[in-house]
Amino acid sequence: MLKVEHLFKSYKTGRITYEVLKDVCFEVKEGEFAAVMGASGSGKTTMLNCISCFHPYDKGEITLNGICLSRLSEEEIAKVRNEQLGFVFQDFMLLDGLTVFENVCVPKVIRGEDYKLMEKKAGKLLRLFGIEHIADKYPAEISGGQKQRAAVARSLMNDPLAILADEPTGNLDSRSSEAVIQAFIEAKKTLGATTLMVTHDTFSASYCDRVIMMKDGKVHSELTNNGNRKAFLEDLLDVLRKLNGGEKDDAA
């Protein structure tokens, strides 16, 4: 489904070149809920931005359902972002002037789709994530958790091949974080959604099928959830301790 192969990415500041991603390889399978974890500066957000086509990359290839993203034009990239990818951001990125219902509709509004199908789909997603009662509220009138659930609903509006979530629980308290993670799980179960989530939050990551650990711009290790969430959480914490040189996991 989503393949990242030998990805290299660097930034130049003056004469100094910083290598951010160094030969990153991994794959996310259809219907999988995967997470990327790592310390600050490990390159996880840069990698997500490359997949999102927000940043170009130096070498390697990212393929989405067989389509090489690096070969697409600006307009084709916009189309991929709109139709084949769904986004969930740390700061929600809901449009303040639109109601929750209207915000959820936005991806289809951009696509210029028929309003009847759009309204039907938006209603269904709002019900799925238990936020239909706030459909007519504006972002300023709802909680952070509700905002992020609305953002998850929005990301699913065009039935994307994959949802890319950048620290979706970063701005939320633990209760709201759990509600948002449950929304991702619900999307996977009900709609078969594929999700790649970048996170610092070990607790949230413990709900994923697989966690990719990054360190210094490389994939350090991968952990697979065998169905026991608590054991998986322990494993994650162990790996993180090792990653951080034995220090206490600040993300836990």
């Binding site: 660097s10 930034y11 130049k12 500041t13 910083y18 290598e19 951010v20 600050s40 500066g41 390159g43 957000t45 840069t46 999102s52 927000f54 940043h55 600006e74 307009e75 916009a78 189309k79 991929v80 972002r81 709109n82 139709e83 990818l85 986004f87 951001f89 990125m93 449009l95 303040d96 002037g97 639109l98 209207e102 509709c105 936005v106 991806p107 289809k108 509004v109 951009i110 696509r111 210029g112 028929d114 309003y115 759009m118 309204e119 929005r154 711009g217």
Partner: protein, 722 residues
């Protein structure tokens, strides 16, 4: 390494360099405003222009009214620019305060900085404004070819006026700055730049309906009802009716709020969703957008009024010249030493002009009766007071009139015809049938007379031909009977003739005007409203002074009962007669248009800056460039479309109604005015469209080019963090 002393002032100076775009925008708006107002004030208050403005009357009143509109426009848009400037400055002020800078110290430094900036800009702008007025004045002087030797010069009152404006605006800006710095809530200051101003009220369709109703009520109460009441019931409602125009303003505000705040799914949901994002974005800046739209509408309305009014004056002037029945017409009282036909012919010969159809018409000035409609009773009803002895009026015999004009008129004994100016509209202050008695005040002979109709002829009077300037045709016998024994001072000779196309008719007319002015005795140097009888009976009579004549400057409109009418002068100089008014009105309209333009432009930039983040978010959600352009365009379009449409439609309808209200019909000589007004509307719409295009282009550059730059910066920053 250069070591700089890091004082607060140095820090602020460094920030000033970094934010030079913000300073540039404020400086431009402030300077433009001061420059325009000082140029206009210098020009208007110059003795050269003042002496050429018609004394009293509607024109001067309208001129000052429009001047007030222009100055208000400039004040509003300067205040707006200052608000914007402070908003952009809020973040750095907030950070400095958060880091522990004492508010008093910061306020003192910023106030000092503002005062210095305003002071420097004011001095430069007043100087340039003065130079502009001087250049404009000299051009005007050249155009009217003044022969009086009083060249255009700048005056102290002009400077004083400009300084007063600067002081007023400066006090307002300093007050705003002080209020801004006084605020206690630090978070509020920090987030001021990003503050959204959504319209919080529940706005629905009722807003639109009440808005339209209020506008209709305003026009009805301010214009139509007073007009109907004064026509039918002859009752003047007084100036309180102007209060109704406030309803128009409120109505406009409501419609604008509706247009920004309400976006309903309605009958076309597809369209609703198509514009969903742009509506949502604009709605969140709703309050300031609506406020701006309203100011723009008022300024555009001011511009329209200034242009329409000056055009009406101009066209009316042209119409008067065209409606004269004789090329040349002037009058002498019986006891005055007059220019003879030979005198006139010899002057004409010097300019190669041939005199044709020279006629002298005998006129008797008899004391006529009339109805005075000058006062109102306690209930505001116009009172009618019949006066057997009203004014000395002009009487001609039917035979003499027929002979002089070539129009065969018959008047039965005991009746009279009233001579009306061509295309003159009737009004209720003076009615032709008011006269029923005429008296020879030398012999005491009186005669009862009955109104028998009206004859149109334009060369027998000055102005509209009412009261003491009214002319009547009597039966030959009645005329002879009344004229018998009339002393010279109550006899008058009306001289009428035409001029050939050959020769310099303009120079001849100018010379004849000068000679005529010099030849008239003091008894003829009286105001248009002067009347010997009324002077004797009215207490505190105001019209007894001598009129100042300008023999070499026929273009000056003088309040003179015996003002001659020379068509070549009118034709060649009516443009110049109205030039002062025209120039100032055009100047004022330019100021209003520029102010409206600057407000529209800066608001577009603000909308663009505020939309940048959201547009980038929408881009991340997969919107292509075309789609993003459309969202931005929709928002900026709204800022221009509604004010332009509202001002154009309202002012066009309003002015057309004023033309209609004058006499209850739109007469044929008013058609060119309506045509001209339509052309003006189209030009202003085109101007606004051009501004909209350039505002959109600039916004596009700002959002998308800057957006790319921001992305680049972010990448570099991310790189640095790794």
């Amino acid at each position: 390494m250069v070591v700089r002393k890091m004082t607060l002032l140095n820090v602020l100076n460094k920030l000033k360099k970094y934010n030079k775009g913000n300073y540039k925008q404020f400086s431009l708006c402030f300077s433009l405003s001061v420059l325009l107002v000082s140029a206009l004030t210098f020009f208007m208050l110059s003795p050269f222009v003042q002496s050429r403005l018609p004394s009293g009357g509607d024109s001067r009143k309208m001129l000052y009214m429009v001047y007030a509109v222009a100055v208000t426009g400039c004040v509003l848009f300067t205040i707006y620019a200052a608000g914007l400037f402070l908003r952009f400055k809020s973040r750095e002020v907030g950070i400095l305060m958060a880091l522990g800078t004492a508010k008093g110290r910061l306020s003192k430094t910023i106030m000092k900085e503002m005062l210095l900036l305003i002071g420097q800009l004011s001095v430069v702008s007043i100087f340039i404004g003065g130079m502009m007025a001087f250049g404009f004045g000299k051009l005007y002087e050249y155009l009217i070819q003044s022969a009086e030797g009083d060249g255009f010069r700048l005056s102290l009152p002009g400077l004083a006026g400009s300084v007063v404006f600067v002081l007023t605006v400066s006090v307002m800006i300093m007050g705003m700055t002080a209020r801004f710095l006084k605020r206690a809530n630090l978070i509020e200051i920090l987030t001021e730049e990003r503050r959204t101003e959504p319209i919080k009220k529940n706005v629905d369709g009722k807003y639109l309906v009440t808005g339209l109703i209020l506008i209709a009520l305003g026009i009805l109460g301010g214009l139509i009802v007073p007009s109907i009441i004064s026509t039918i019931f002859k009752r003047v409602l007084g100036s309180f009716t102007y209060v109704f125009y406030i309803l128009v303003l409120i109505g406009l505000y409501k419609i604008m709020v509706y247009s920004v705040a309400v976006h309903k799914r309605g009958k076309n949901p597809q369209k609703y969703y198509k514009n969903l994002i742009s509506f949502g974005m604009l709605k969140f800046q709703g309050v300031s957008v609506v406020r701006n739209m309203l100011i723009s509408t008022l300024l555009l309305a001011g511009a329209f009024f200034a242009i329409f009014y000056s055009a009406t004056n101009y066209i009316q002037g042209a119409t008067i010249a065209a409606s004269e029945d004789n090329d040349m017409s002037y009058r002498y009282l019986g006891d005055a030493d007059r220019l003879t036909m030979q005198d006139v012919k010899s002057i004409a010969a010097a300019y190669g002009v041939e005199i044709t159809d020279y006629r002298e018409v005998e006129i008797a000035r008899l004391l006529g009766s009339g109805v005075a409609r000058e006062n109102y009773d306690e209930e505001g009803m116009l009172t009618e007071e019949y006066r057997e002895k009203d004014y000395y009026k002009n009487f001609i015999s039917a035979g003499m009139f027929s002979e002089a004009t070539g129009m065969e008129v018959k008047v039965e004994p005991g009746t009279y015809l009233y001579v009306n100016r061509r295309n003159n509209t009737e009004n209720y202050w003076f009615l032709p049938e008011d006269l029923d008695m005429a008296e020879n005040t030398d012999t005491g002979i009186k005669k009862g007379l009955i109104f028998a109709g009206t004859v149109e002829y334009s060369s027998f009077f000055y102005d509209r031909g009412q009261d003491g300037n009214a002319s009547y045709i009597l039966n030959d016998e009645d005329f002879a009977e009344l004229k018998k024994g009339l002393s010279n001072k109550f006899q008058m000779t009306q001289v009428l003739f035409n001029v050939s196309d050959a020769g310099d008719t303009y120079a001849f007319s100018k010379e004849l005007y000068a000679r005529y002015c010099k030849s008239v005795p003091d008894s003829m140097r009286v105001m248009a409203a002067y009347d010997e009888y009324r002077e004797g009976v009215d207490a505190g009579y105001d019209y007894g002074g001598l009129t100042t004549l300008y023999p070499k400057r026929p273009e000056i409109e003088v309040d003179w009962k015996y003002s001659p009418v020379f068509v070549p002068l009118l034709e060649r100089s009516f443009v110049l007669t109205y030039a002062t008014l025209l120039l100032i009105f055009v100047f004022v309209s330019v100021i209003c248009l520029v102010s409206a333009g600057v407000i529209g432009y800066t608001r577009s930039i603000t909308v663009a800056v505020k939309s940048k983040r959201v547009l980038m978010d929408v881009k991340k959600l997969g919107a292509g460039q075309e789609y993003l352009n459309r969202i931005l365009k929709e928002q900026i379009k709204k800022i221009f479309v509604l004010p332009t449409a509202a001002a154009t439609i309202l002012m066009f309808i309003y002015y057309t109604m004023i033309l209609w209200q004058n006499d209850g019909v739109i007469s044929s000589n008013e058609y060119p005015m309506i045509g001209f007004n339509i052309a003006v509307c189209l030009i202003v719409v085109l101007y606004q469209y051009t501004l909209y295009r350039s505002s959109f282009r600039k916004s596009q550059m700002l959002v998308f080019d800057a957006g790319t730059a921001v992305m680049k910066k972010r990448r570099e920053r991310d790189g640095e963090r790794i």
